[in-house]
Symmetry: C2
């Protein structure tokens, strides 16, 4: 096992009827910046319910609405400005991962003198942040319990992940019923997203990390079991609850503690989103099986076979054959059971003109990954995914 | 899944050469109470190495030495007195679970006006505590990352667990090499202890908690794999590291988040230790298989069978038969592979005079457990374990 630091300070209030815990925000001061997306929280009544608790707690609320999927640095800057002008004490995100990611960088930008984009491309510059709270409405990114934020500047086709311990939320409310209205498309994409996070942590060569691998397999089994149930029966509580808690644990630092490797499918997907603004989880679903096939070798077959046997009910004894069955089973799960788009053309990427420049940027982002990938490797993966 | 609150704020520095992180204690002030046991940390050199870092960090160190296995309230009171007299800022435990448990209640007692025993028998009285730090030297209780402390008053045959979020350590250093010198007896008892914690969390009837059950099985598989390796090869790093991290996760709140039931084997064992001062992990090893046999029914067989299939390589398809095989395999593991004592006589309990009074107290402690147990049930379990 590798040396590691483990630190998951986020307090989670999980279950039904947890919104009253928003009164805990009083611990961090009186002025709250409420960050949210396109207004679905108004239509659902969540906005009003949250406001009621916040107002009763005596908090003064400012707003930064309109956070985009693949949140933009321009929105971050708008939020930072509100914080600085009004001496905001804390940031509350109500929404999915994009909203929480945006809120995190707003919170860091609020106590940073320079341009907030610096904090995206140079994470060590993040030395402090306002306290961050969240109410989660989508099971996918795990942003509610981790250090990460992914911010885009689509005017430059840039999408980068940043991270800091001080951007880990202080408290997050996870109410599975808030995801009952999530569409089939987003439920499927979220399931692919949490599975991809799990895979990125699971595929490593570190001896003595069976505990972590077993945790990963448990999350993958739950995603494979409950993803389809959530599609068919969107108000199935156990399905929504399992997906929500699995998504948080897929990326909160538990799965890769002691067995960390650089991620590589995420850097590739970030280029797809940066150039074509596609749904992150759909891009991950398209790339993951192609990547597994591309890196399949005598060296990688045992772990891919282990995934097959412990998650996908593969019974084949030979590792190479079992690994191939596992990849085939994953494709069937993603593209048939979950109805996810199976290739880049299906998400509207109809030309290959940018593959070279995208691959170069992705290759820079995945140095030290499970199997090293060159720019040429990544171009080939994009081509096979086309 | 049940509603739950999840909060694991302890920062963990895990691996070799982590002692330098003791300089982080400066964040909590300048006066440290160092709590330790019988002096093995002096013989091993750990005491000197830690003191060097603390002194270089400019900290003023006070000492409370001589913490017993099954730590006594009398030692807690001695520590509390030192804290109050010297206006101590924080408590640092260097040792195993007993030392850390003792340090926790000292830290709570230091900011409590009354008798520290109140905090043991009435946990809600714990409203605050000095910051708690630990350097772990034994993989077993998980105290380094949880809210619990177990304190005894052997003058009254009393041993009770208490808990508070504010007793969760602020930071713990987990260096597996510090457990290289742990004896076979304590290695085996520690393995049984972490497995018992895992079982107490794993045996529940809560639907929709497959993720947590899978995590538990992963920890159990690691204990079954690495316990024997640590016995045979005490300086095997991956074995010591896996046991250490498994022990922390067995009881840090992850396994029972959303699927909590009252524990019942622990309350029974606490009576054994309270009356006979036996090693906690040995008592748990003796009681656990007897308890499993006692509660085996059509209702409990599926989960016990699942443990057998997913941890002990049981292949039997019928649940009742598989559950019986699982219990037999567990006995073989504890009493043959790990060399743990197989019955109460083997740990020096040679008469049954106290079973009635012990059973009554244990029954009070396990209300709401997986299978409800009356005083009579527990007397019978003690008799079968005799």
């Amino acid at each position: 096992m590798q040396n590691f630091m483990y630190y998951v300070p986020t307090k989670i209030h999980f279950g039904t009827d947890q919104l009253g815990y928003l009164s805990e925000l009083k611990e961090s001061g009186s002025k709250v910046l409420l960050v949210y997306g396109g207004g679905s929280i108004k239509r659902s009544g969540l906005y009003d319910a949250a406001m009621k608790v916040l107002v009763e707690a005596g908090l003064e609320i400012f707003e930064c609405a309109g956070v985009e999927p693949n949140p933009r640095i321009q929105t971050v800057r708008r939020g930072v400005e509100i914080c600085k002008e009004n001496k905001i004490d804390m940031v509350l995100a109500i929404g999915g991962g994009s909203t929480i990611d945006c809120a995190k960088v707003i919170a860091a930008g609020a106590v940073y003198e320079g341009n907030a984009w610096d904090l995206v491309i140079n994470p060590p510059l993040i030395k402090a942040a306002l306290p961050i709270y969240s109410v989660l409405t989508l099971s996918a990114t795990g942003s509610e319990m981790d250090a990460f934020a992914v911010i885009s500047d689509l005017t430059k086709n840039e999408k980068w992940g940043t991270a800091s311990d001080c951007m880990k939320p202080k408290m997050s409310i996870l109410d599975p019923t808030l995801t009952y209205t999530v569409s089939k498309k987003q439920t499927a994409a979220g399931t692919a997203d949490m599975m991809s996070h799990t895979f990125e942590n699971y595929f490593n060569f570190v001896e003595g990390s069976e505990m972590q691998a077993g945790f990963a397999e448990s999350i993958l089994r739950c995603a494979v079991k409950y993803g389809p149930i959530a599609l068919e029966d969107p108000t199935n509580y156990d399905a929504r609850a399992s997906l929500m808690w699995c998504a948080s644990f897929a990326i909160n630092g538990t799965l890769n503690a002691g067995c960390a490797a650089a991620w590589c499918v995420h850097p590739m997907e970030h280029e797809l989103s940066a150039f074509y603004d596609i749904t992150h989880g759909e891009g991950l679903a398209i790339l993951t099986p192609v990547w597994m096939e591309y890196i399949l070798s005598e060296k990688t077959a045992p772990r891919i076979a282990q995934f097959g046997r412990n998650v996908m009910n593969v019974t084949e004894k030979d590792d190479m054959a079992a690994a191939k069955e596992a990849i085939a089973a994953l494709k069937t799960f993603f593209f048939e059971t979950m109805g996810l788009p199976a290739n880049l053309r299906a998400v509207g990427i109809v030309e290959k003109d940018n593959f070279e420049v995208m691959a170069q940027k992705a290759a820079n982002g995945c140095v030290g990954s499970y199997v090293p990938l060159s720019k040429e490797d990544i171009v080939e993966i994009f081509n096979r995914a086309f």
